[in-house]
């Protein structure tokens, strides 16, 4: 299925290390701005008990699920040991100070 480019927010509206919730149709997406300015997007659902990742603590390139502390890579969605699983990731795009997610 072709992906669509969805406008999320202006760059400065995303606070560093605080997740941003986006809903697009059925999909729930969490958008993060890392301390170094990179913008990453993940499915807003932890594999364990569906915790909303947008509310988690962000540290470096990881987010911790707010419900059960699972540590998940913001780069590739990999759940870190000792837990298992993967969270879907989405490409992001920064254009003229505007943040888009490919969904």
């Amino acid at each position: 299925m072709p992906k669509t480019k969805v406008y999320v927010a202006r760059q400065e509206e995303l606070l560093p290390r605080i997740g941003y919730s986006v809903v697009c149709g059925e999909r729930k997406i969490a958008v993060f701005r890392l301390s170094d300015g990179r913008i990453k997007a993940l499915e807003n659902i932890s594999p364990y008990r569906q915790g909303p990742l947008a509310e988690g603590t962000v540290s470096g390139e990881y987010v911790y699920c707010p419900l059960y502390d699972w540590k998940i890579s913001l780069l590739d969605g990999q759940v870190q040991e000792p837990d298992h699983g993967t969270v879907a990731t989405f490409e992001t795009l920064l254009e003229d100070g505007k943040v888009y997610v490919w969904i």
């Binding site: 969805v6 406008y7 999320v8 927010a9 509206e13 606070l15 560093p16 290390r17 605080i18 941003y20 919730s21 986006v22 809903v23 697009c24 149709g25 997406i29 301390s35 594999p47 364990y48 008990r49 569906q50 915790g51 909303p52 509310e55 988690g56 603590t57 962000v58 540290s59 470096g60 911790y64 707010p66 419900l67 502390d69 870190q80 040991e81 000792p82 837990d83 298992h84 699983g85 993967t86 997610v101 969904i103």
Partner: protein, 805 residues
């Protein structure tokens, strides 16, 4: 000296684990050959459900890759099943014609899915759910077909069905019985489970007997004994497993349901052993993982010439690997032969507990919804503890310290040979040895070293307890860090914050050389709090370092929704407030309105984006019910209405709450005021408790009615309300300045020493100093956070908005 030849037939979980145990004991003793039927190296079969539910990949469930066999110098006869076994000539022949001799042989041939012997069962699209190949085939089919039927509503069937729903299929589970998992659950729990699974998209046909599978080459549907028909493009058979005994029968070994073994896992032929699902011990065949490991250990001892206790059978338990359906079942769960039961059902949380009891011992357990106490109950069951001293009320609820429960639940009290991780058969002794021997510091490291906690993960809490138990000992000689990011203790960090004048968490991480430069969920909120206390004016609170509850000023619930709990000072409210709460609850379709344990009304199940509007419309103050802060004051009705009340408990409660609300503390801080020694507000178990007496007020500190019930200690008796308020403030500030983040007052008081704290608080001078610092600290900061959000559209957008794309 030539080494003996050991042959393992079956490359699965039971057999390979036995080999691992043997290698652990004596790696030099045998030349080992393993014959495997499947085209994969050893893998964790119980994780197949996770693969189907997209939680794991195939690679992740491979326990031992090919390199392991090479490293251990094990010859793997791969993808080539054994077809005949000659016990006399001590030889095995494989399908490809290989002949392999042995001195000793282990049969670990496992079991196979039982395929219902009905017409059409060999049609294309009819599968068992047993192997990686079955799983891959299901995943492949799910890509091009839509409708699946799963025959059998047991553990495996439900996990398979959930997996297929996750793959986008329309799935119907067909079950012969009245309720699901009927051998593990009673009717009540089975029906709760069904309702939850229906919510997750599964469909059910109960009490249906399949008479025929329809189709010419490929399956098209099922026909039931009542003549009705269900369309299906795929049929998964999960009606049971059958021990694989063909080879043993052909070899003339004694076989009933499984291959008969004695207490040393030896079959009827000398030097030939059997473990796992293919073995039958004392009339029992096990289909779960824990017994396989227990058997493997006994056999490994036998084969390495160690003295060992005979295998005495296993107590098994079940849990389901489907998110959102927590269940636990163990032991005897039918009320027959003198078995009686007690049960409890909580309709709000949909949790259900039932314990089966015989001769004053727990013999069976069914838990659904809330399984937090499975360890406690399972220990009672396994250790056959006498529970005659317990009433049903004390047996069912958590801990309480009243029952063998607390000891049974305390993993540090377990014997070393007790299993902590049932999935991987890892004992307490093994974990302790690893922690001590390899200097492990985290659950993740323990999992890496021992496999414990690597599968279903239910035992991680216990592993954590063991870590604390071992590392806790070390604290006496060397400080342990506050988390994995640093080796510095709380005191060292706070000292450096003051000495170096650090005012942001980033500075702390940088200057104190934290391994992880942005910290973790454990240290970030802690350091943010220490900075707030150290430099209340200079340190700006850091939302990104606040746990979600305190960032959003609402408690996150298990489904990602939030709760709204307005303040009702001293437990008082008005008709107007009640109407306002009712109006807001109705307008926002709040799913649950509940009186909390602390005399307030809570609205539960609120969406993040609705929070600011609801607060605005409520026009009430936040009760900080989500915060590590001063929470609320519980009161009795007191002198205003009660005929026993000697003091105005509500009035004093309200004064205390107004004076100290919104003050951050290391952990939640609860207060209580009772007007007379009957203590209807239960002030003896509050962090700060007041009891009105004829000539004044008794003050109790350090009580706790929560996780570990702790009686408050009598600090002093004072005459005036003002003295109560001042002592409370001094106590708060002293706790703030010296408390470890997330440490309640009870352990804090124990750590600091009651006499020491008493001396400080009763010194008028010290008290004045503390109060002065408290006033400075809260100056300008004590505002209702809800109001701030309501007034600030930017805050609302930054933190509460949900963008719709």
């Amino acid at each position: 000296m030539t080494r003996e030849k050991l042959l393992l037939i079956g490359n699965g979980m039971a057999g390979v684990r036995t080999i691992e145990e043997i290698l652990d004991r004596d790696a030099e003793r045998y030349d080992i050959t393993i014959i495997g039927e499947e085209n994969y190296t050893n893998y964790n079969r119980i994780m197949l459900s996770n693969v189907l539910q997209n939680k794991n990949t195939i690679e992740e469930i491979i326990t031992n890759p090919a390199s392991w066999y090479a490293e251990q110098k094990i010859e793997l006869v791969h993808h080539d099943p054994a077809v005949s076994l000659n016990t006399g000539a001590r030889k095995v022949r494989t399908q490809s014609g290989k002949e392999i001799g042995f001195d000793k042989c282990i049969l670990a041939t496992g079991s196979r899915s039982f395929i219902l012997p009905v017409e059409g069962s060999s049609l294309e699209g009819v599968l068992g759910f047993r192997t990686i190949d079955d799983t891959l085939s299901m995943l492949e089919t799910a890509k091009s077909y839509r409708k699946a039927a799963v025959i059998g509503g047991g553990l495996l069937g439900l996990e398979a069905a959930k997996g297929l729903v996750d793959q986008g299929m329309d799935v119907t589970v067909v079950h012969l019985e009245k309720w699901l998992m009927e051998t593990q659950l009673n009717e009540m729990a089975g029906k709760l489970l069904k309702a939850d699974l229906e919510q997750q998209g599964l469909k059910f046909l109960m009490e249906k007997k399949t008479s025929r599978i329809l189709g010419d080459t490929r399956v098209t549907g099922l026909e039931f004994s009542d003549g009705s028909i269900l369309e299906a493009d795929m049929v998964i058979m999960t009606v049971g497993i059958r021990p694989e005994t063909a080879l043993a029968r052909q070899a003339g070994l004694a076989v009933n349901r499984g291959i008969v073994v004695n207490d040393w896992m030896e079959t009827s032929a000398q030097g030939i052993y059997a473990v796992g699902e293919c073995a039958e011990h004392q009339g029992k065949v096990y289909g779960l993982v824990a017994p396989l490991f227990e058997q493997g250990k006994v056999l490994a001892d036998v084969l390495t010439g160690r003295e060992t206790a005979p295998y005495g059978g296993s107590t098994t338990y079940t849990s389901l690997k489907v998110s959102g359906c927590d269940l636990f079942s163990a032991g005897e769960i039918k009320e027959v032969g003198g078995v009686k039961s007690i049960e409890a059902y909580d309709g709000l949380t949909n949790s259900y507990k039932k314990l089966f009891i015989k001769d004053n011992q727990v013999v069976g357990i069914v838990l659904y919804g809330d399984t937090s106490e499975e360890n406690r109950y399972f220990k009672l069951l396994k250790q056959k503890q006498d529970i005659s001293a317990l009433t049903s009320v004390s047996l069912l609820p958590a801990g309480g310290g009243c029952c063998g429960g607390s000891a049974a639940d305390d993993v540090t009290q377990w014997a070393d040979d007790e299993t902590i991780c049932g999935c991987n058969g890892v004992t307490k002794g093994t974990i302790l040895q690893a922690i001590r021997g390899k200097d492990l510091k985290s659950v993740a490291e323990v999992t890496k070293a021992t496999k414990a906690g690597g599968s279903c993960g239910k035992c991680k809490g216990m592993i954590g307890d063991l870590l604390t138990y071992v590392l806790g000992d070390r604290v006496a000689t060397a400080p342990t860090g506050i988390c994995g990011c640093t080796d510095l203790s709380r005191d060292e960090i706070v000292l450096q914050i003051h000495e170096k004048g650090l005012t942001t968490t980033d500075e702390v991480y940088e200057q104190l050389g934290f391994r992880n430069r942005e910290g973790c969920p454990k240290c970030r909120p802690a350091i943010n709090f220490y900075l707030n206390v150290a430099f209340p004016k200079e340190h700006g609170d850091e939302p990104a370092s606040r746990f979600v509850n305190e960032r959003l000023h609402a408690n996150i619930q298990n489904n990602g929704t939030f709760s709204v709990i307005p303040r009702m000072r001293g437990g008082q409210t008005t008709p107007q407030q009640l109407m306002q709460i009712a109006r807001v609850a109705e307008k926002y379709e709040v799913p649950l309105v509940k009186v909390t344990g602390s005399q307030r009304i809570g609205l539960y199940g609120v969406k993040k984006e609705d929070l600011p509007n609801m607060w605005e419309e409520l026009d009430m103050t936040s009760a900080s019910a989500y915060a590590k802060a001063v929470r609320s004051v519980k009161t009795c009705v007191g002198a205003a209405f009660c005929r026993f009340g000697t003091q105005d408990s509500m009035g004093l409660g309200i004064k205390l709450e107004e004076r100290y609300e919104f003050i951050d503390t290391p952990h939640k801080f609860k207060m209580g005021v009772s007007a007379c020694p009957r203590s209807c507000a239960e002030t003896g178990v509050k962090d700060f408790g007041v009891i009105g007496v004829e000539n004044g007020f008794q003050i109790y500190i350090g009580g706790n009615g929560g996780t570990e019930v702790q009686e408050g200690q009598l600090l002093t008796t004072v005459e005036t309300e003002q003295e109560v308020i001042d002592i409370c403030g001094a106590f708060l500030q002293y706790y703030r300045e010296t408390g470890i983040y997330a440490e309640r007052t009870a352990p804090w008081l124990k750590r600091m020493g009651f006499d020491h704290v008493k001396k400080i608080l009763l010194s008028a001078e010290q008290r004045a100093e503390l109060l002065k610092r408290l006033d400075e600290a809260v100056e300008g900061k004590r505002r209702n956070p809800w109001q701030q959000v309501v007034e600030d559209p930017k805050l609302q957008k930054d933190l509460y908005a949900v963008v719709r794309g």
